[in-house]
């Protein structure tokens, strides 16, 4: 029985692709300058010329949302990829070798889950706060730190179940080295579960970046970020709710789409009822 991914899945994928393309090519697309104040009437609602309306100082909300996507997507993608490489490697080593290596790595992973993420981030901002340019590196660094442990745990569990299979034993009997067994035999089997999981991690990172930006600690203005737009819009919530509402909707749909695609892929790859 071949499972179908469904039309909603492809809609979500299409949305994500459109958003990513728009963010990447924001400079060459015919959209307004996100920094230009009084490009239209201040606090004006959505219209044909300004799709998402204008904010408190008359900047175009739509183009600011597109440029804000750059920050969210770059930080979450880079963070996820790095975490995937490091966490995946640690998880595979931990699950494959077992014994003392496994015990130490698992202990370290559990310990790193102990400090609440946002609090850790705040401490790091205090630690490394200096020029605004470095803020983006701190963000990525923290996000990698935060997502290594969850990824490593998932990969470790998957590796554990594959490492006991007959074909792994066969490869080892034939004299394959550990590296070859890990990368040629186990990795292809483990990969689906962590690729789909990484989308969910990515959605999580977008939320964390949003929270941090909301608190005013992400990439500083004038670079637009979704979280910051939502926060600044709160002062005009009673007269011009769209200033907060539009970035909030885009962020919601993005996170929902990523979660949905990740969920569906997991069900697609995994024949069993997926376990948390």
């Amino acid at each position: 029985m071949r499972k179908r991914l469904g039309i909603l899945f492809w809609l979500a994928v299409a949305y994500l692709v459109v958003l990513a393309v728009a963010a990447v090519f924001a400079d060459v697309l015919p959209i307004k300058d996100p920094a230009e104040t009084f490009a239209g009437t201040s606090k004006q609602g959505p219209s044909l010329t300004h799709w998402f309306g204008n904010d408190g100082v008359g900047r175009d909300v739509f183009s600011r949302v597109i440029y804000g996507a750059q920050v969210s997507l770059v930080i979450s993608t880079v963070g996820t990829v790095l975490a995937l490489v490091i966490g995946g490697l640690l998880g595979m080593v931990s699950g494959y070798y077992g014994g003392r290596v496994d015990r130490w790595l698992t202990a370290a992973m559990n310990a790193s889950l102990v400090i609440p993420s946002l609090i850790l981030f705040l401490a790091l901002v205090l630690f490394l706060d200096s020029e605004a340019k470095r803020r983006i590196f701190i963000l990525v660094f923290t996000f990698v730190l935060l997502s290594i442990a969850p990824i490593a745990r998932v990969v470790r569990a998957a590796t554990l179940s594959w490492a006991g299979q007959d074909f792994v034993l066969a490869a080892r009997t034939l004299g394959a080295r550990d590296g070859r067994v890990l990368f040629r035999e186990i990795l292809p089997n483990v990969a689906p579960s962590f690729v789909s999981y990484s989308l969910i991690i990515m959605a999580g990172l977008i939320v964390v970046e949003g929270s941090v930006a909301f608190l005013g600690l992400s990439v500083p203005p004038p670079t637009p970020t979704w979280g910051d737009m939502i926060n600044k819009g709160r002062t005009n919530l009673d007269v011009a709710a769209h200033i907060s509402l539009m970035p909030a909707i885009v962020m919601f749909v993005t996170v929902l789409a990523l979660n949905f695609v990740g969920d569906k892929l997991q069900q697609y790859f995994e024949p069993r009822e997926s376990v948390l």
Binding site: A111, V114, I115, I119, S211, L237, L276
Partner: protein
């Protein structure tokens, strides 16, 4: 021989830990209140379940706590810039700086400073805040009450949504009802709590959107300000409802999904068929027979999400201007008050670890099948 010694070690260390916690926090009302409740739950759970396992787990908590305290201290100690200059301002003379450095003990070697600080922490002394000029332990215990209230209310609200919906969706697995509940909850899962908070304020507090002169929304709940429980009970809950809801819905989705999948597994077991064939009403089977064996994973996860809730509480406190621990730490960060930040982070991490351990015990107490066996602590 060695085994016998090891068996004795667990209880002794655990007893020492308990004594330390009680001694350190006893005289600070909100702390003693929190930790008192936690210790009682833990002890009762351990007693019902498996005494030796519980004590071993408790003993295992100590190195984690020491490790966390070290990381927090090292992080704060390696901050760039001289804290003395931060306190005095750039116009300070060298003499003044020297005096403040001695006062803060900054000239001593790193490990001495760590030892002094840890010694202070064990006696409930977290130092004096640089900016607020106030005892950090006092400041945190004052801010602890609103944070604990928000967290407690939101867990209650989340479970209030998750349990009935999880049971219902699990029972009607694969139907339209199940699908609808799942999709709505996935929606809440994808809503960051600050977005939800802003939306709740918009639609429940300030009248919502106005389209063609009509308001789509309500003005029923106040948006910000904290009213202590002791001051006015009704106003307190009115003000806490929006922040707690904003924090609760994401958790409700996680809880509901877990309970649903465990419920599905339980409903396939033979004892459910037996209950059915006895002619028991469905409602009774679901709530009395199936809920308990389905709720174990849920319980551990409730413990795990406390960490998430603390992060979320920070945001919610920021939006609704509630003077909680998150707000306290945030203020410390923005004003570079490292003593307040390290105290706050340490207290929150400790609380988190303790809750996590306690939820493991509760797990054992509820599921007799696991007793006498090692449980994967947080699998």
């Amino acid at each position: 021989m060695k085994q016998a010694v090891r068996d004795q070690l667990g209880p002794i260390v655990a007893a020492a830990l308990l004594a330390t916690i009680v001694w350190a926090w006893f005289w600070r009302p909100p702390f003693s209140w929190t930790f008192g409740v936690l210790v009682v739950i833990g002890t009762v759970g351990a007693g019902i379940a498996d005494g030796r396992y519980a004590l071993r787990r408790l003993a295992g908590v100590i190195p984690v706590l020491v490790g966390v305290s070290f990381v927090v201290f090292a992080l704060m100690a390696s901050l760039p810039g001289d804290p003395a200059i931060n306190i005095l301002g750039p116009a300070a003379t060298a003499d003044q700086i020297a005096i403040v450095r001695t006062e803060l003990g900054l000239d001593e070697p790193f490990f001495n400073r760590y030892g002094n600080w840890l010694g202070g922490v064990l006696t409930g002394d977290l130092g004096t805040s640089i900016v607020l000029r106030e005892d950090v332990a006092d400041g945190i215990s004052r801010s602890m009450t609103p944070t604990l209230q928000i967290m407690a209310y939101s867990v209650v609200i989340a479970l209030g949504f998750a349990i009935p919906l999880g049971i219902w969706a699990g029972y009607r697995q694969g139907t339209k009802t199940d699908g609808t509940i799942n999709n709505v909850m996935l929606g809440f899962l994808a809503t960051p709590n600050f977005v939800l908070a802003v939306m709740l304020v918009l639609f429940l507090s300030i009248g919502g959107l106005s389209v063609a002169g009509n308001e789509i929304g309500f003005r029923v709940l106040p948006a910000a300000r904290y009213v202590p429980l002791g001051e006015d009970v009704v106003l307190h809950f009115k003000h806490m409802l929006l922040p707690s809801l904003a924090l609760a819905m994401g958790q409700a989705a996680v809880f509901m999904r877990l309970l649903r999948s465990d419920m599905i597994a339980t409903l396939r077991l033979p004892f459910i068929d037996l209950a059915r064939s006895k002619g028991l009403p469905t409602r009774r089977i679901l709530w009395r027979h199936a809920l308990r064996p389905s709720s174990f994973t849920l319980l551990t996860v409730v413990g795990l999400t406390v960490g998430l809730l603390i992060g979320g509480a920070l945001i919610v406190e920021f939006i609704f201007t509630i003077p909680g621990v998150g707000a306290y730490i945030f203020l410390g960060v923005t004003q570079r008050d490292f003593i307040a930040v390290q105290g706050g982070v340490l207290v929150i991490s400790t609380l988190y670890i303790v809750v996590l351990t306690m939820s493991d015990f509760l797990y054992l107490a509820l599921d007799p099948r696991l007793r006498g066996r090692e449980v994967g602590a947080r699998a």
